[in-house]
Amino acid sequence: MLEFKQSDYEEIRRHGEETYPDECCGVLLGTMNEEGDHRIVSSTVRCHNTREDRPQDRFYIDPRDLVRIQRQGREQGLDIVGFYHSHPDCPAQWSKTDFAEAHWIGCSYVITRVDKARAVDTNSFWLRGTEEEDKHFEDEPITFVAVAQKSDVPLSAQASMPPAEVPGSDK
């Protein structure tokens, strides 16, 4: 399971809309539970797609960027827990190329389908296995962090809430 803040989720989808018709790519920083089956994204980092030759259907993240992101994450107590990229006018499903190039076993690979510069669906795939030879992608649910903020309550709802009970006012 991959858990996002709504804002981070929207940010990676927006990234795909902005780079359309090219593929976007980036890194998900966060934490992983002991069992490794639950990753929580704390922040997302946009990366430059260095496949200048065919960015419409390929992406590559400069390892130097990964080194930097890994180091920055470490300073904040965060790990690389996954990656994201977009599929312009193509389903949000992993491709043969995605699978062949996936090496971060235990991490999430998030793919957003972008049709005509509009993000459509976003899916996450958990790369499992013990080594290159037995790795495989498994569909995993995306969930959202429940953020309890006052601003989340619509003003109308706040206004219609009964007034707080004042102790001793109950006569």
Partner: protein, 95 residues
């Protein structure tokens, strides 16, 4: 020197995100790393004993491929980052 272990390989490195190893070159440091953590070996090297193509090694901020590869000298305060590559791309079929 310090070797930074990426998330997928930590389970083979005692769950640590970094390991201190002795060595005067990148190759020596890696050898010592795989001696202290033998399970790492097959994830870093192929059957011919060569570094797997998707395993990038950065000494501080430099790719060792553009230095002296595994013969690149290292100092005690250097950091070696192991970073598997990240790439992909959609299939040719277009909807």
């Amino acid at each position: 020197m310090k070797v930074l272990i990426p998330t997928p390989l930590r389970q083979y490195a005692g769950k640590k995100d970094s390991v201190e190893v002795p060595g005067t070159t990148v190759g020596e440091a890696l050898k010592n790393l795989t001696i202290s953590h033998p399970d790492l070996k097959k994830h870093l090297y192929n059957e011919e004993g060569k570094l797997r193509a998707f395993v990038n090694l950065y000494l501080n901020d430099e790719d060792i491929r553009y230095m002296e590869k595994e013969n690149t000298p290292v100092g005690q305060s250097d950091t070696l980052s192991i970073v598997p590559s990240i790439a992909g791309g959609k299939d040719d079929r277009v909807i």
